[in-house]
Amino acid sequence: MPSAESEIDLVVDLNSEDESGLPWTFLDEARDPTLIREGAWIVVGEGSAWAVAQVVEIEGDIVRVRRLPGPVESHRALLKHDVA
């Protein structure tokens, strides 16, 4: 399995949840901000926990994601950096 640091597109604390009920972070936490578009499937996480997630909303510099359950490998087909 690739290391988390090399694969994470967006650093998100998967413990977090704001008033929207979704994990959130800042856009400048992205490895490549051009990948962070609403609807895009990306790898999110921090430390030893990461997951595939869809970018739900970008408001200003705040990004909210909805993560999928299960390991990254099980959703690998989604990770072509296409917008759904």
């Binding site: 413990n15 977090s16 009920g21 800042f26 921090e46």
Partner: protein
């Protein structure tokens, strides 16, 4: 570290009346009553200082009007709720840390925003170190 600031109190409103905007600069306050005080607090991953510091700094940046540092965790009333949390919200974590609320409070960590209300959807909550804890850990602007 500014520990003297407090959340605005939104008297007279109910949660559905207070439509928080995503761009607001202070945490939204949940006005509904908290059913029971959680006895346990669960946080995914090992307690890495670097990660805790990064998350706390992100929280501080997100809610500048609050002027506080905090990290997210989940509250549970008992072991069964911890199990549910591990199987759902924290299922991506290989390790979780479960801490008794009383132990956190003894260490100077407050749970949730002031007045015992939540900024997020239950059971997610916020752990806030007191200013003394921040000073000891050399955290703060």
């Amino acid at each position: 570290m500014n520990d003297s600031g407090g959340c605005p109190v939104l008297g007279g409103a109910t949660p559905h009346q207070y439509g928080a905007h995503m761009s607001e600069r202070a945490p939204r306050i949940r006005l509904s009553a908290v059913a029971l005080p959680p006895l346990l607090v669960v946080r995914g991953d090992e307690l890495s200082r670097d990660i805790l510091l990064a998350d706390a700094t992100r929280f501080h940046r997100r809610y500048p009007a609050w002027g506080k540092y905090g990290v997210s965790a989940l509250a549970a009333a008992n072991d069964s709720e911890v199990e549910v949390i591990c199987e759902t919200k924290l299922e991506r974590f290989d390790v979780v840390v479960v801490i008794e609320r009383a132990a956190l409070e003894r260490a100077g960590v407050e749970i949730g925003p002031p007045s015992g209300v939540h900024t997020s959807r239950s059971p997610t909550t916020t752990l806030r170190p007191s200013s003394k804890v921040c000073d000891r850990a050399n955290i703060g602007p």
